[in-house]
């Protein structure tokens, strides 16, 4: 299972990769580097020109009454809304890949899937904890192998049918079915009977039982303390089998769910409109009447539209970020959140001279992380270790490496690293990466190491880091799929991930032992204590230069209320509402 560079999470170019028992985790290059790649180099080249043209377009659009820039000539008109309706306007660059929860595995798809569909549990707003959605409560066996969910009885699909346990079972079996080719398959493979089902030896997954319509029981082959988090992925949403069977592959365009919104219009490459589900099981939710997302608007166009008041929430293009932060009334409209992610400089422990821990520590002392944060205009916090703050199990007492070039020089001398040492730093070809790369290059030059920067496209970069003895230095990042330390430590530092996600080819038998011991534990205190011990060992061994935890920024109009950035998922829109007299548009 792997994901290419789309954006599963807001603004992040990343992908999910096979992660054994630990489930997936998202490898990403950096915040604010959305779905761009080599292509973007060209785009950059005439960005200034495009911006100028767009200004003219936006200005003339505004002159024609403000609505002029929505909808192309000849396109079907957007559904009309009565005056005063609560309509949230958004704009994105790329079309939403899919609305089918079995297929979507990127930010854009998940944003809308979680509006249309319901899962048993979901992450709390702004948090990393699970809260009930369709489930009213759930029980976990002490060995973390049996999970029983009790469902609410008032949830209905928008076609009128009640949501039952069978609908969840149906969707998970659909995801597991090889014919569906779902990227979510690996998350449910450890269910009892999943292998037989996938091989075609069983008609259903034996490990999923529905003793009555309002109860569902999952049995696993082995303990998995983070299993419930997997059920919070849209892959495990309730879908009506009769609708899926009717439309087949086309289900994505005719989705029916039980969520707070339902699909009203989706014109590929142009517009996606969701309207309120009046029968949603929570009264008074959603507060919006509709969400209109305009597709095909570049970052710059989105920004111009935002400034013109034509859209309600926007990303902040990097060229505008400093301007926004220096303009008090714009700055007041920004929202930010520290991602459950860590940016690092990986050093290949199998390659000389990085097999010497003194060299790796020297690099940690030599690189000025505060400078990098300043370069990012504050879109990051200094990382002391592997786990990002906000992740359960984060150790606030962990001390990493301070900036100390004198000590770095001393360590390099001790290790006998001479002047001819000139490692190559691999990185994504991207403006922000290059800036950070140059900063690292400057810092290391001060301690006598001349680094050569090697910007490469995303796919070849990911290919290269899997090869042993190829990449000595690499600038990468990792983002959590699940809020658990296992999702970082086991996935990135265990021996069995060599050639997989352990891109520094790090191996410490003691760390591996701790990881194996911690994995099945359900007692959080004991679990986190073991992971913290493992993290301390990793920090001491320093296979990474622990750089920073990225901070994501968004901006919303003053009339937008209840817009909350979430660390684990795209923002949920059902609690969003608009101040009635705030906007000058409708």
């Amino acid at each position: 299972m792997r994901r290419r560079r789309g954006t599963r999470r807001r603004l992040i170019a990343g992908r999910l990769r096979a992660a054994g028992g630990a489930g997936g985790a998202l490898q990403f290059a950096a915040r604010d580097r959305g779905a761009r790649d080599a292509r973007s180099r060209h785009r950059r080249a005439y960005r200034a020109l495009v911006a100028a043209v767009l200004w003219l377009a936006a200005a003339s659009g505004a002159a024609l009454g403000g609505a002029g820039c929505r909808g192309g000539a000849g396109a079907p008109a957007p559904p009309g809304f009565p005056p005063g309706a609560q309509v949230l306007h958004l704009a994105v660059q790329d079309d939403v890949p899919t609305l089918d929860p079995a297929a979507g595995y990127d930010t854009a798809s998940w944003t809308f899937e979680q509006m249309i569909f319901d899962t048993l549990v979901r992450y709390s707003d702004g948090g990393v904890d699970l809260v009930p959605e369709i489930a009213t409560r759930w029980d976990e066996s002490p060995d973390a192998r049996v999970f029983t969910f009790h469902l609410r009885r008032d949830a209905r699909f928008t076609n009128g049918r009640a949501v039952t346990a069978a609908d969840f079972k149906y969707e998970i079996e659909r995801v597991l079915n090889p014919a569906t080719r779902s990227k979510g398959m690996e998350y449910f493979r450890e269910m009892t009977g999943a292998a037989e089902f996938q091989a075609g030896h069983a008609r259903e997954v034996g490990g999923i039982a529905t003793p009555d319509p309002w109860t569902i029981v999952f049995r696993l082959d082995g303990p998995d303390p983070i299993f419930v988090q997997k059920l919070a992925m849209p892959f495990a949403a309730a879908v009506p089998h009769e609708v899926v069977e009717r439309w087949g592959e086309d289900f994505s365009s005719h989705v029916i769910g039980s969520g707070p919104f339902k699909l009203a219009q989706w014109i590929g490459g142009q517009r996606l409109v969701l309207v309120k589900n009046p029968d949603y099981f929570i009264k008074g939710v959603p507060r919006l009447d509709a969400v209109v997302e305009e597709i095909g608007a570049s970052d710059d166009l989105q920004w111009l539209k935002f400034e013109a008041g034509a859209i309600d929430v926007s990303r902040i293009p990097s060229a505008e970020f400093l301007y926004v932060m220096k303009t008090p009334n714009l700055r007041a409209l920004t929202l930010h959140i520290v991602d459950i992610a860590t940016e690092y400089l990986g050093m290949n422990c199998g390659m000389k001279p990085f097999d010497d821990v003194r060299v790796r520590r020297a690099f940690n002392y030599a690189i000025d992380k505060h400078k990098i944060i300043a370069l990012l205009n504050g879109r990051g916090v200094v990382a002391e270790g592997v786990l990002p703050p906000g992740l359960p199990g984060f150790n606030p007492n962990l001390k990493g490496y301070p900036y100390d070039p004198a000590r770095a020089r001393l360590l390099l001398e001790e290790a006998g690293v001479g002047k001819d040492f000139s490692p190559t730093l691999w990185m994504r070809a991207d403006r922000t990466e290059m800036m950070i790369g140059q900063s690292i290059q400057q810092d290391l030059a001060l301690v006598g190491v001349q680094v050569e920067l090697k910007p490469v496209a995303w796919a070849p970069l990911l290919e290269a880091i899997r090869q042993p003895d190829t990449v000595a230095l690499v600038d990468l990042g990792w983002e959590a799929d699940f809020s658990d330390p296992q999702n970082f430590l086991e996935v990135l530092f265990s021996r069995k991930q060599w050639g997989g996600n352990n891109d520094t080819f790090y191996y410490n038998p003691e760390v591996d032992k701790l990881l194996a011991e911690a994995a099945p534990l359900t007692d959080r205190a004991r679990r986190y204590a073991l992971y913290n011990r493992a993290e301390e060992l990793v920090v001491a061994d320093a296979p990474w230069v622990f750089l920073y935890n990225p901070v994501a920024y968004m901006i919303r109009q003053p009339w937008v209320n209840g817009y909350v950035l979430n660390p684990m998922r795209p923002t949920r829109l059902e609690q969003v509402w608009l101040s009635p007299h705030g906007r000058g548009r409708d």
Partner: protein
Amino acid sequence: MTRRLNAMELVGAVMVVSLVLTALFAPRLAPHDPTRAVAPTYGDPGRPSAAFPLGTDELGRDVLSRIIWGARVSLIVGLAAMVITMTIGVAIGLVAGFFGGAADFALMRFTDVMLTLPALLLAMAFVAVLHPSLLNVLLVIGLVSWTQIARVVRAETLSMAERDFVTAARALGGSPARLIAFHVLPNVMPIIVVMAVLGTSGTLLLDAGLSFLSLGVPPPTPSWGRMIEEALIYFRTAPWLIAFPGLAIFYAVLAFNLLGYGYLRARGGRAGR
């Protein structure tokens, strides 16, 4: 050959000389190391001030020093690429024009094909495949810019090859190589000089373009095109960061164009006659 330079030539020559001197004496002229941070203006470029007349960039480096060192890279690339361009262009033009027939047809159709490909696009493709480095960049620029020169030199050679003095030399038993080297080339030289000077501004621009697209000389070596590219993020808050390297490119291109056109004008509008 002694004649007074006209105003255009004079200004152009002074500007070119100033560029060359800047490039030669960059280590002496630049107040700071262009690759090191000299002010803590990380992420928020510093305004021009007494200490840093052109400000400091997002990595705390002195913009003036970077522009001065950038002149070195630009001139090396511009001039070296021009030498390659001239060598290829003149050789193809002379051979095609002098021998005519099948050689002319083959070489000129090849030139036409090359002309249809936009130089920047071709250079981008080459550099992307090769590894961006000083040598590769100037080689690539040289390899994509020779077409116009080949055509002009061929046209001049064609007319020269039929002149009486060439026929006379041939009658005296001169070998083709000798005829080209001692009779045709000296007479085509003026236009070659003009094309070389004007072409240098073209190669400078191409270099800036490649750098702008992150395909130029890799960092930390300062280059004007990359400086503009890196400054784009700060367009709203630090426009001078784009303006100064932009002016440097403008100055260099103007210098070579003034010199070239001034020389052209001095020779009566049409070079080579």
